[in-house]
Amino acid sequence: MSEKNSVPFNGTPEQEKMLMEVIAKHHDQPGGLMPTLQEAQGIYGYLPIEVQSKIADGLGVSLSEVFGVATFYSQFSLTPKGKHKISVCLGTACYVKGSDKVLEAVEQKLGIKSGECTEDGLFSIDSCRCVGACGLAPVMTIDEDVYGKLTAKEVGKILDSYKE
């Protein structure tokens, strides 16, 4: 697996201070790695190698263990999220209604794959399993907005409306 990290890491000193506090809080706690990763993702939005290395050093666990946990749980992301987070539902109902083609269209339009972020940091794509709106299948969400009964053709126009 090679995570494409198109956006360079630019954490702020404030973020680092918060991370260090989180690490200090969980340092002596058995099983403290999971909550540390969760809170670190809350601070940075994702878990780049720079953040995972700090967590490994801070908690006294190896980087490979941190990486193992970070890649085991789908809640953790190793790539940054865009300003606008696109999520295409690949749940059963959406899938049979052709959401794979919707996802393909989004990937093609933005030139990135699911799980990645555009170089300008504007969009990131993820797929999900059911947003609970099966009646509207196939469904895509962008941030808090839900788009239902989509076709691949409509994707371009929708995405353009998010470009300022």
């Binding site: 666990v61 980087l63 490979s64």
Partner: protein
């Protein structure tokens, strides 16, 4: 509670075992062997592979014998149709995405998966998964990882974390994407791996192997312009026999020398000689440090796994390492300087092969800080396993060979040199020589407190009128405990011996692979070490500095321990590396 005994039945055979025993342990007592794959005693006990499943009363469904404890009155069946079917299906599922190029696999002769598949008569194509080709990682000088053969048993990651305390490899992702690798899937060479090779020793299949240097040796032997010089490490003779089905702990020194000569070596030397040389130099360094207020405690530096560990994880601790090169590197230096000059050979025409029990030594020969005139002193470090394979390939009937002797002048060595291969051996050898240097005699030859296979041993001896506190550790998790103890001020020693591999070189990453069916029930480390201690006590020479070869080397070349020439050729510096 601890002494409470549990009565149960394995396949109808009554057995009595201590409370807390697993079904696997109880079954062994009933002389019933349950097959295992992910389980490895003291290393990995996670019940993940489901090969050891059995039927047990009071349990729902099949249970994993390696983790399930026996209870009073429990009746266990290990060989029912249901059990056999389950094991067979598990194996067939494992094969669904396993690279089955068994014909050319290095582990073809001792693959634990293959052995089980044959025993259970599996259909290797029953479950076909779409082909997933995973990149082979051969970036390092010592280990090759082929995840196409990995069965995710977790033994390698367990030994890396629990025994060696480095955890450079781990399980990544989940489901069908789950695989073993370094953080961020970086190549092994970019990780803080120390190259101990314990992962390859415990791998049940061909996913982890030690990088082969065989071809370079065959080429040199065939090259008439090259003079090929072999020398063999202390522990190789104690384990090479295992590669030919001989009992664990058989000393095959004489046959080994004969076999190497038949491979085409021009000279076969005894690396115990430079083990002696290391001791003479190291004892001298220790005495100097103690007398002149040098950095203490002093740590041994003959184990390249430990040295690289220190460089990665405790770079500020490097001044504690003895500046002595390892016996391998000393030998290389002696061959390409003293030996070459004496025999009027251009060092460029020499091809120096060390036979070692170790994978980390493959990295050691590439250390540029130990090059001289832009050239390495040891051209190839060949493992015991590789030597075994070469002997087989050459058609040499090893077990029938007559005993032969090493070549002059690097033939004779002391018993102290021999025990280098076992944990505590270097310490004991150094103490013998230091005692004589300081007290004029060494009354006690056997330093029993530092012998044995425990991970950490401590003792205090009076040498030269002062108390010398020593510690011996094998396995890097134990080394970490020692170093952390010193840094925190809890521990105080003068001299510490560290070996990266548990038990020392006799259990090194390049030694013959021993399957779980033996490892789980035999104290391999103790059995293997015995061969070396027997060789020591049978040797008239028990102290390194008494060896006539030492006298020769110092009289003719190095003048005295710690001399300018000795420093130039036998001592080295270290490199600070990052995590």
């Amino acid at each position: 509670m601890e002494n409470q005994m549990i009565h149960c039945k394995i396949n109808g055979i009554p057995v009595e075992v201590p409370a807390g025993s697993t079904i696997l342990e109880a079954a062994k007592k009933a002389n019933v062997e349950i097959p295992t794959l992910c389980y490895l005693k003291d290393i990995n006990c996670i019940g993940a592979c489901r090969i050891c499943v059995v039927e047990a009363t009071g349990a729902r469904g099949l249970v994993a014998a390696c983790t399930h404890p026996v209870s009073e009155g429990m009746e266990v069946q290990t060989n029912t149709p249901k059990v056999r079917k389950s094991r067979k299906t598990t194996l067939e599922l494992l094969l669904s995405n396993h690279n089955k190029k068994c014909l050319s696999c290095e582990r073809a002769e001792n693959c634990e998966l293959q052995k089980l598949c044959t025993a259970y008569g599996v259909d290797e194509d029953k479950f076909q998964h779409e082909e997933m080709t995973k990149e082979i990682d051969d970036s390092s000088a010592y280990i090759v990882r082929d995840n196409n053969k990995c069965i995710n048993c977790g033994r390698c990651t367990a030994v890396c974390k629990k025994v060696q305390g480095v955890s450079v490899i781990g399980s990544i992702q989940r489901g069908f994407n789950a695989h073993v690798g370094c953080a961020f899937d970086k190549p092994l060479a970019e990780s803080p791996c120390v190259g101990c090779g314990q992962c390859a020793v415990v791998c049940p299949v061909g996913a982890l192997t030690i990088k082969s240097s065989e071809q370079a040796v065959w080429d040199a032997i065939a090259d008439e312009t090259k003079k090929v010089v072999f020398f063999t490490a202390p522990s190789v003779r104690a384990q090479l026999g295992e590669a030919f089905g001989m009992p664990v702990g058989t000393n095959v020194e004489g046959k080994m020398v004969g076999a190497i000569r038949r491979l085409g070596a021009d000279e076969v030397f005894n690396m115990d000689v430079t083990a002696d040389l290391t001791i003479v130099e190291e004892a001298n360094e220790l005495i100097e440090r103690i007398q002149n207020g040098g950095t203490l405690p002093m740590f041994t530096s003959c184990c390249p796994g430990w040295v690289k560990f220190c460089e990665h994880y405790y770079p500020d601790f490097l001044p504690h390492l003895s500046s002595c090169k390892s016996p391998q590197q000393m030998f290389g230096a002696v061959i390409k300087s003293y030996y070459a000059q004496k025999n009027n050979i251009d060092p460029k025409d020499l091809f120096v092969v060390s036979v070692i029990p170790c994978s980390a030594k493959k990295f050691e020969v590439t250390r540029e800080e130990q090059f001289r005139n832009g050239m390495e002193d040891v051209d190839v470090a060949l493992t015991t396993r590789e030597l075994g394979r070469m002997i087989k390939k050459a058609g040499i009937i090893f077990t029938d060979l007559e005993d032969e002797k090493f070549d002059d002048p690097f033939e004779i060595a002391s018993g102290a040199g021999a025990i280098f291969g076992a944990t505590g051996g270097v310490m004991e050898a150094a103490l013998r020589t230091a005692a004589v240097k300081l007290d004029g005699e060494c009354k006690a030859i056997d330093f029993k407190e530092v012998r044995g296979t425990e991970g950490i041993k401590e003792a205090t001896y009076t040498v030269g009128g002062v108390e010398v506190k020593v510690a011996v550790a094998s396995g890097l998790a134990n080394a970490r405990a020692i170093v952390d103890g010193i840094i925190s001020g809890e521990k105080d020693y003068n001299f510490v011996e560290i070996m990266a591999c548990p038990g020392g070189c006799i259990n090194g990453g390049g030694q013959p692979v021993v399957s779980d069916s033996v490892r789980n029930y035999v104290d391999l480390k103790a059995e293997r070490a015995k061969a070396l201690y027997d060789a020591d006590s049978a040797n008239e020479l028990r102290k390194s500095h008494e060896s006539p070869v030492m006298k020769l080397l110092y009289d003719e070349y190095f003048e005295k321990p710690g001399s300018h020439k000795a420093h130039e050729l036998l001592h080295t510096t270290y490199v600070k590396r990052g995590k």
